[in-house]
């Protein structure tokens, strides 16, 4: 029997970035088990894996087909997101080394788990089928659960992991139930084939409930209000380097799958579905920003900010247009760079046992570490959405998409909540520049600093010349 019916060269090429990273993760696992004290080697194997995978992803960019009987998308969108995840992973890997060494808990498994979760993200970003989305989410999440509890002797890390795990698994139940109902009403889990059955299938209430449940599952993953409450606890308790990775890569992956899945039902421009997503977006922007106001711990503040930013990005989903989806994609790039940088600075200044994380601890930083203070200010400006940083362009994009889809009220709300958010973002700047302080700081590592500087350069370049990404986006959608 001819096996080419099941498997072709095109499938191999299409999945090459994922396969490559998977292979390297296995090699790393082998190295880790066979060689003693091999953290450094494992780290470099993982970096090599990411680089090779990046190369394959770039190579695939021009392609435009599907693999494994439409289970996997190849090229364009999938490649773009794969590249995004891989770059974020690379940043996160380099940020982690000094952090783990400082905390004196340095194991090779950490890096393996990071790239395993990246595999999950890449599956999500190139999913052509609800099963692929489910698998991707699970691969990513299971690795995240472990990473959140990585400091296994610390109670806060344990607690963070358990909360994340139980709520994550709970959300998976909803997502899966939704998938089951969609499958039951259309007879397929493939997104393309589901879309082919529209608009009749869309009239079935069971089908709609299915999408509603999938929406809930995704809302948990992207941290949209009211399914957001795990976020602050998990972000605060997890190791800072993991939080940096979760809040950027994890969020980007969730949104990449969100876009893929919901481009199908959103194509119907159903006012009720739009309204529900718009309300999720509005609630996230309001709650995230308001609760962010009263935080004193920077990690927790950034957690609430992450909820708020999920709200901004949901505007793009609610708009249901290509403009909105491009906006989300751009936003994810800028948000990823910004948050990695911000968490990078926080990880660098953190002292043992999670000390040195409050606003007060940053007083007078401008005098003791002017470069770090300037960088952190830039990240805060970008999160606020002040030109000429990348955050501004992203917000502009998303608000424009809202106006285009007659959701002007959402854009107005977005602007107002952004104004609110300036209070807590710029408060840290005020502390750094206008308050006296300055305790002993932990020694700063060069690698972390270089990474943070790179993300700083990234947001400025993207803020001034956004067309670098915009032109790519145009060709993707």
């Amino acid at each position: 029997m001819d096996m080419m019916e099941y498997f072709s060269n095109a499938d191999l090429v299409g999945s090459s970035p994922i396969l490559a990273l998977g292979t390297f993760s296995l090699i790393a696992l082998l190295v880790n088990s066979l060689v003693k004290n091999s953290q450094k080697i494992v780290f470099w194997v993982c970096v090599a894996g990411v680089v090779v995978s990046l190369w394959f992803a770039f190579d695939n960019f021009e392609l435009n087909h599907t693999a494994f009987s439409d289970m996997l998308l190849v090229g364009g969108y999938a490649s773009f997101y794969s590249i995004l995840f891989l770059v974020i992973t690379l940043f996160a890997l380099f940020l982690s080394v000094p952090y783990l060494e400082k905390e004196e808990y340095h194991l090779g498994e950490y890096y393996i788990l990071i790239i395993l979760s990246t595999i999950g993200m890449m599956l999500m970003g190139s999913a052509g089928d609800l099963i692929t989305i489910f698998l991707g989410i699970e691969i990513m999440s299971v690795a995240f659960y472990v990473l959140a509890g990585y400091f296994r002797t610390k109670l806060s890390s344990n607690e963070s992991a358990l909360k994340y795990f139980l709520l994550g698994a709970f959300a998976t139940g909803f997502l899966l139930y939704g998938i089951a109902l969609i499958y039951g009403t259309t007879g397929t889990t493939n997104l393309i084939r589901i879309a082919a059955q529209y608009p009749q299938a869309f009239m079935d209430p069971l089908h709609l409930i299915g999408w509603g449940l999938v929406l809930i599952g995704f809302s948990f993953k992207v941290a949209a209000v009211p399914f957001h409450m795990w976020v602050p606890d998990v972000y605060e308790g997890a190791p800072t380097s993991v939080t940096a990775f979760m809040s950027t890569g994890g969020k980007a992956a969730a949104f990449s799958a969100f876009i893929l899945a919901f481009s199908v039902p959103m194509s119907m421009h159903d006012p009720k579905l739009t309204m529900v997503i718009a309300i999720l977006a509005a609630a996230s922007m309001l709650i995230g920003n308001w609760f962010g106001l009263s935080q004193t711990n920077l990690k927790r503040m950034l957690a609430y900010s992450s909820i708020a930013h999920a709200g901004y990005m949901l505007i793009g989903i609610a708009s249901g247009t290509q403009l909105g989806q491009q906006g989300i994609t751009f936003y994810l790039v800028s948000y990823g760079l910004t948050n990695l940088g911000a968490f990078g600075v926080i990880a660098m200044l953190e002292k043992e046992n999670g000390k040195n994380l409050s606003y007060e601890d940053y007083a007078g930083l401008a005098r003791t570490k002017p470069a770090l203070a300037a960088l952190l200010s830039m990240f805060m400006f970008s999160l606020t959405g002040i030109p000429p940083f990348a955050g501004f362009v992203g917000k502009y994009y998303l608000f424009a998409s809202a106006v285009q889809s007659n959701l002007t009220w959402l854009a107005i709300l977005g602007v107002i909540t952004s104004l609110f958010s300036t209070y807590y973002y710029l408060r840290i700047v005020v502390y750094m520049y206008f308050r006296e302080g300055g305790e002993e700081l932990p020694p700063l590592s060069r690698i972390s600093f270089a990474t943070v500087v790179l993300s700083g350069i990234g947001i400025v370049v993207l803020g001034i010349v956004p067309s670098l990404i915009l032109d790519v986006l145009k060709s993707m959608f």
Partner: protein, 113 residues
């Protein structure tokens, strides 16, 4: 697999799809309720497993009624994923127990506000 063999012969003896779905929904709700009211982390997790298995039931039912194998395939994946989650979950609970000597989820409150 064409699915023809997997499809039971449609006869008068078939249990209507709705009954499966209702049972599945009932089990799912039981799971959700359990997650909300139980305090032991392991029991909470078992209730989540119950939710997943409720979904498996409806998937199998759909698969059988549609005569399509995709649903069964998904069930395999769900089971494997559930097993992996169980392993990780158990590990997390154990490490928590080692530090805190309890698995009561109400006592997890150093992270709040």
């Amino acid at each position: 697999m064409t699915g023809k063999n997997a499809c039971p012969t449609k006869s008068n003896f078939m249990i209507p799809l709705n009954h499966y779905l209702l049972l599945s929904a009932f089990l799912f709700s039981c799971g959700v309720l359990g997650v909300v009211v139980r305090r032991n982390a392991i029991v909470v997790f078992m209730c989540i497993e119950l939710m997943l298995n409720a979904v498996n039931l409806s998937l199998i039912a759909f698969s059988s009624y549609l005569g399509d194998a995709t649903g069964q395939m998904l069930v395999f994946f769900v089971m494997v994923v559930a097993a992996a989650e169980a392993a990780v979950g158990l590990a997390i609970i154990i490490s928590l127990f080692r530090n805190k000597q309890t698995v009561n989820v109400d006592e997890l409150n150093i992270l709040k506000w």
